[in-house]
């Protein structure tokens, strides 16, 4: 496993502070979307279907920072859209680093090489490059040929210049466990710090509705893919979340774990479902009917969801809430056996 110790320590102490304050619900990762426009139109993405005047808009850096302060999460993930198309991305990242937030800048890496000069390597900044598999699978997932071949040299360059680089992969029905194992080898050869994997979720607005994974297929795919994991593979995520994907844990969703902020406000209830917006983070936490979400709720939209933004927070909370969870996490981390 490859989450750096300083980051683990920050998250651990943050969770303990929440527990001591007897907070029932608290965020882990703020999903900050400063814009919706993207230089790709992936079939699995429901984030970019908006009229032109919405796609042209950007959140101001000040609004982004206010949201970060309001939320208080120790980790800020910047998806989008494509964040490298955000005109103030360098200033935003610098301000977040100054505030000692761990930043995951999610990018398809098309612009990464040319924008690298805007950033300074830091333990707080990681480029999280969207890679859905080897060349053929990735280009198919992003609906454009040649993107894999643009991303690979950009990753090499970023690694060579001392940046933290991780990958994030969304897997859909039909993904081959064997090909994904080859992909893990390939990514580790590029020198990335760690990889993140998650099953896709069927956004109601995503054009591709046929290829999202059901729960049983998710267990099967991840069990095969992660069986006897190679020692050189490093995952930048909770090992218990990976075990959950393999069917070895039965977690409940933590929809408030990764709250989402964008130009519409605080999205209810989670990163994936758009059921409305609150004007403040507190309003989101206080007025969202959380009991209506997650598998136990019976909400059919949540039935097959096993996505990281709902369950990784549960896994992390489990690690730091019980001795059993902590021992299990340490055991998996030390042995590398999932």
């Amino acid at each position: 496993m490859s989450v750096p110790l300083s980051q683990m320590w920050t998250v651990a102490t943050y969770v303990l502070r929440q527990k001591l304050a007897r907070r029932k619900r608290y965020p882990f990762v703020l999903m900050l979307e400063p814009l919706f426009r993207c230089n790709l139109a992936c079939a699995g993405c429901g984030k970019i279907q908006y009229p032109a005047q919405i796609l042209k808009k950007n959140l101001s850096v000040e609004k982004c920072l206010a949201a970060v302060e309001e939320c208080g999460a120790p980790i800020v993930s910047i998806p989008g859209g494509e964040p490298l198309m955000y005109p103030d991305i360098d200033r935003l990242v610098a301000e977040l680093v100054k505030r000692k937030k761990y930043v995951y800048l999610c990018t398809n890496a098309i612009l990464l090489k040319e924008k690298l000069d805007l950033f300074t390597p830091s333990k707080y900044l990681s480029f999280s490059v969207h890679m859905d598999g080897l060349r053929e699978e990735h280009d198919e997932a992003v609906c454009r040929d040649g993107v894999y071949d643009q991303a690979v040299p950009a990753i090499r360059e970023a690694v060579a210049r001392g940046f933290r680089v991780t990958t994030n992969s969304t897997l859909f029905d039909g993904a081959s466990p064997l090909r994904m194992r080859e992909f893990f080898d390939e990514m580790m050869s590029l020198g990335v710090e760690g990889m993140m994997v998650s099953p896709g979720y069927s956004y109601s607005k995503a054009p591709d509705q046929e290829h999202f994974l059901l729960q049983s297929r998710t267990h099967e795919l991840f069990s095969k893919m992660l069986a006897s994991p190679k020692k050189r593979w490093r995952f930048n995520q909770s090992p218990l979340f990976l075990r959950f994907l393999m069917g070895k844990h039965d977690f409940e969703c933590t929809p408030w774990g990764n709250p989402t902020y964008n130009m519409f406000g605080w999205q209810r209830p989670c990163y994936l479902l758009q059921e409305g917006y609150a004007r403040t983070f507190q309003e989101l936490m206080d007025t969202t009917l959380w009991e209506n979400y997650g598998k136990k709720s019976g909400n059919e939209k949540c039935r097959d969801c096993m996505v990281h933004c709902g369950y990784e927070a549960t896994a992390v909370d489990y690690t730091f809430s019980s001795l059993k969870g902590f021992v299990e996490t340490v055991g998996v981390t030390l042995t590398g056996k999932l």
Partner: protein, 118 residues
């Protein structure tokens, strides 16, 4: 099925609240018709029915906003803008890729069954 082009008939069988729900779910501009008869184009991104005065939130056609409008000031919403979520780009992309692959394969040389014909 897309709602693009739909002009709801608000009345006995379709309430304004239902139309607003459709509009909230719609990924295109709409024409917002106010109770005083005036109309303007905007993108409705939220509605709030929790409080004593339910309202919608929208950005106008030039991206200015967000603005709010109370339900009591609203008469109808027409689905006049392009539905940006409509279509099946995955399928279209796969079809295009297959077509391109087929075009890259050189045409097969079929032996002439009658090489002696004139």
């Amino acid at each position: 099925m897309s709602l693009e082009g739909w002009v709801p008939d608000v009345g006995q069988y379709l309430t304004l609240e239902e139309v607003v729900e459709f509009a909230f779910d719609y990924r295109g501009n709409t024409t917002i018709v106010k109770a005083d008869g005036t109309e303007f184009v905007g993108y409705i991104f939220n509605r709030n029915t929790y409080g004593p005065e339910p309202f919608i939130e929208y950005f106008d056609e030039s991206g200015e906003g967000p603005f709010t409008l109370r339900y009591s000031e609203l008469a109808n919403v027409k689905f006049t803008g392009k539905d940006t979520a409509a279509g099946n780009s995955w399928k279209a992309w796969l079809e295009r890729k297959e077509r391109e692959k087929a075009e890259r394969v050189p045409a097969q040389v079929v032996p002439d069954p009658d090489p002696h014909r004139g």
